[in-house]
């Protein structure tokens, strides 16, 4: 066990920092802090341009093998890039689904043909992706998928509905889990399809959230079509492909996320000083506890970096989701009565109000607290199924 940082890594960090300093300027300067959870609607077009600049400089697909056009960076370099990116307050990624979920899935499960067709679009920041997993009747229960796809006239015809799809309006493609074997049940008979969004058979309707804003959408497929060959892995093997995707790069993303969390916490601490509520011993204690827990989340992420166990993923999700939700509460408690009033109609929120309300979703999406606890109890601790 040695947590020292190597000279090579320090050099890489300097390179990243320099590039960001040179490039996140001019018209991109305004993107600092844009996007991310609960604010995905901000400055989408300019963020897309920024993403292409990243791609041109080779910063997308850092961890992918050089053989498929990636950079083959070490895990630690990926962490360094993600941390520096967050530290520079560079904008939330429009195509994180493409880079962090689709691309590694293609590398792991996709044919060479599919890799050649789809990886360049992701690596250049030119084709945006969204995720088609959750359904109204299958939120926590992914194996309950009811969206169907059948081969018809040489292409997949897709019928069904997905929900909680983020950035669906801006995506060119969606990776969809659909049932391709008519009478199959649960995990069997699912396929992982790549479906173009710009077609008549796809209808997108925004879901307005508790915040009054809309980050997620419902996506309706009504005879939506995609080519027969656009299936990742074998038809019927979609569950394994999708599950493989869920674990990728978690540690890297987690460590980067913590940089943002630290910035949010620092802001709450500053607010508490400004409003004088830091003098309240209970507020002070909660601020310190939040700081401590964020450190612990970092130690936890470092210790489990590169491991791909369900334990690490579920522990990480529970820790950050609950932490962030509590930070949201702390952020408005620090403001007191003033936090009950909005800056403007219709339902425009302050930063701390947005975090307070939006973080109610953190413990629900991407595997709710309850699902994570089931996983830990049954798959990790081995407690008997009910």
């Amino acid at each position: 066990m040695d947590l020292s940082v190597t000279a090579e890594d320090e050099a890489f960090r300097a390179e990243v920092r320099e590039w960001l300093a040179q490039n996140l300027r001019g018209e991109f300067e305004q993107l600092r802090g844009a996007g991310g959870s609960g604010r995905e609607h901000e400055a989408i077009e300019l963020r897309t341009e920024w993403e292409q600049a990243l791609g041109a400089a080779g910063w997308i697909g850092l961890g992918l093998p050089q053989s498929v056009g990636g950079r083959g960076a070490t895990l630690m370099q990926q962490v360094i890039f993600a941390e520096e990116y967050a530290r520079a307050d560079a904008p939330g990624r429009v195509n994180h689904m493409g880079e962090y979920l689709l691309a590694p899935t293609l590398v792991a499960f996709g044919s060479e043909e599919l890799q050649r067709r789809f990886l360049p679009g992701v690596l250049k920041g030119e084709e945006m992706w969204c995720q088609g997993y959750s359904e109204p009747g299958a939120g926590s229960d992914l194996a309950g998928v009811r969206t169907k796809a059948v081969l018809k006239d040489g292409s997949w015809s897709i019928e069904g509905q997905k929900v909680w799809t983020s950035l669906a309006f801006h995506a060119d493609w969606c990776f969809v889990i659909a049932r391709t074997e008519p009478d199959s049940e649960r995990h069997r008979g699912l396929s992982y399809l790549l479906v173009p969004m710009d077609q008549e058979g796809v209808d997108i309707r925004p879901i307005v959230q508790i915040t009054g804003s809309s980050e997620f959408s419902e996506v309706f497929f009504d005879d939506a079509r995609t080519e027969a060959r656009y299936v990742v892995g074998e038809p019927g093997d979609g569950w394994r492909v999708a599950m493989g995707t869920l674990g990728f790069e978690r540690g890297v993303a987690t460590l980067a996320q913590q940089v943002g969390f630290q910035r949010e916490l620092d802001q709450v601490i500053a607010d508490a000083r400004e409003s004088g509520t830091v003098e309240d011993p209970q507020i002070a204690e909660r601020l310190v506890q939040a700081w401590i827990e964020l450190r612990v989340m970092r130690y936890q992420a470092l210790r489990t970096l590169g491991t791909n166990e369900p334990a690490a993923a579920s522990v990480s999700k529970l820790l950050w989701a609950n932490w962030h939700r509590r930070l949201g509460e702390l952020g408005i408690d620090v403001r007191g009565a003033a936090a009950t009033v909005l800056p403007a109609e219709p339902y425009e929120l302050t930063r701390e109000q947005a975090v307070f309300l939006y973080t109610r979703a953190d413990t629900i999406y991407a595997g709710s607290n309850e699902i994570q606890r089931n996983i830990l109890a049954e798959r990790v601790l081995g407690l008997p199924r009910g």
Binding site: S134, G137, A138, G139, S140, D141, G144, V163, W164, I207, V208, Q209, I210, G212, D280, Q282, I332, D333, R335, G336, A337, A339, T340, V341, L342, P343, A344, E345, P346, Y347, E348, L349, Q353, F356, L357, R360, A361, T363, I364, Y365, S368, N369, E370, R373, G386
Partner: protein
């Protein structure tokens, strides 16, 4: 000693429950919230008109029904169940404050009669920058009242002002010259606020100088606390009912999610919180008239206990609903926003807890 409701009280409860279900829930609430007003005038007209609800505890001499605060508490709970967007809570708080033992009855009378006549009254009892000038007869006020609940719809406000000779209650007509009412957009869409600016605004001094004035202000605050407690119990009860119903219907993994024991146990804990809150609000609403010497402790205690129960239930309700629970179209967020806003406006639960501790002589 009898803790159960008598027949008249049960009738009142049933009548209101039926009225709210038919005329003052669901779309009515949602429309008022969406319109940016948080106020349903038709519901208010019926509640104050044919039902004479705001006069419930007002002396019959002023057109009221002369009931106790227990009846007011029942009404608050029933309206709280659906977060009915009417300024009932602030109006009855104003009425009960005006009817208090340390208030100048003669000056209070016309204000009480405006309430029984259907007017919206509100209260502003926190710290503020308002100062008085002039003699008792022609007094004017300057300064600002913040976070006035339902202020945008109110005809007058009963405000606590720090006078040179101690705290005092004033009645301020909001249509008077020198008064500017600025409606605020609020996180809680079902109860809006106003900022009220006073520039040489005329006002009626309602309390004598010294200890009696301080007592009247304190009592008004305590009434507000108990009123919020009763309302919170209604909201909490309904929010838990909705949640339990959803858990019995929503199927995942091939069974209703309410059959999963982890969720059951959390619902059981919420039920314990609700039952505790219910008992506390009932006791507090009896104390208002039945044992006023206990009010200084029981009032903030009831606000704390019931407010925490509502916040806990509303917060868990979102989580237990899953994805649908944090959408704009579902009602869960109304309860949650009401719960948190009420807590923030009180100075926070930790403030209430300290108040109880000081008054109970513990700290």
């Amino acid at each position: 000693m009898e803790f159960t409701l008598n027949d008249e009280q049960r009738d009142l409860q049933q009548t209101l429950r039926g009225f709210v279900e038919r005329h003052a829930s669901g779309k009515v609430v949602r429309d008022a919230a969406e319109r940016g007003e948080g106020f349903s005038a038709p519901v208010w007209v019926r509640l104050t008109g044919e039902m004479e609800l705001t006069g419930l505890a007002i002396d019959p001499a002023h057109g009221g029904a002369g009931a106790s605060f227990v009846e007011v508490g029942i009404a608050l709970e029933e309206l709280g169940r659906s977060l009915v967007p009417v300024p009932f809570l602030v109006t009855v708080t104003a009425a009960h404050a005006l009817g208090g033992p340390d208030v100048d009855a003669e000056r209070a009378a016309p204000l009480l009669e405006r309430i029984t006549g259907g007017c919206v009254a509100t209260v502003s009892l926190g710290e503020n920058s308002v100062r008085s000038t002039g003699a008792r007869a022609g007094v004017t006020l300057n300064g600002q009242l913040d976070h006035v609940l339902d202020g945008p719809h109110a005809a007058f406000v009963i405000a606590a002002v720090e006078d040179d000779d101690g705290p005092a209650l004033y009645g301020i007509d909001l249509a008077a010259d020198g008064v500017v009412v600025e409606a605020q957009a609020t996180m809680d869409q079902t109860r809006r606020q106003a900022t009220i600016r006073l520039s040489d605004a005329p006002a009626t001094l309602l309390t004598p100088a010294g200890d009696a004035g301080a007592a009247a202000v304190e009592r008004a605050r305590e009434i507000l606390s108990v009123a919020l407690a009763c309302e919170a119990v209604g909201a909490a009860a309904r929010c838990l009912e909705i949640t339990v119903k959803y858990l019995g219907e929503r199927v995942q993994f091939g069974r209703p999610i309410g059959s999963f024991q982890a969720l059951k146990h959390r619902c059981a804990d919420l039920f314990v919180a609700l039952e505790s809150a219910r008992s506390t609000a009932a006791y507090a609403s009896w104390v208002v008239d039945g044992a006023p010497q206990e009010l200084p402790t029981v009032a903030p205690l009831s606000q704390l206990v019931c407010g925490e129960a509502l916040l806990q239930i509303a917060s868990e309700s979102i989580q237990l609903h899953g994805g649908i629970g944090f959408t704009w179209e579902h009602d869960a967020h109304y309860f949650f926003k009401r719960a948190k806003s009420t807590e923030l406006l009180s100075g926070g639960n930790r403030y209430l807890r300290r108040l109880v501790g000081q008054r109970a002589g513990i700290i």
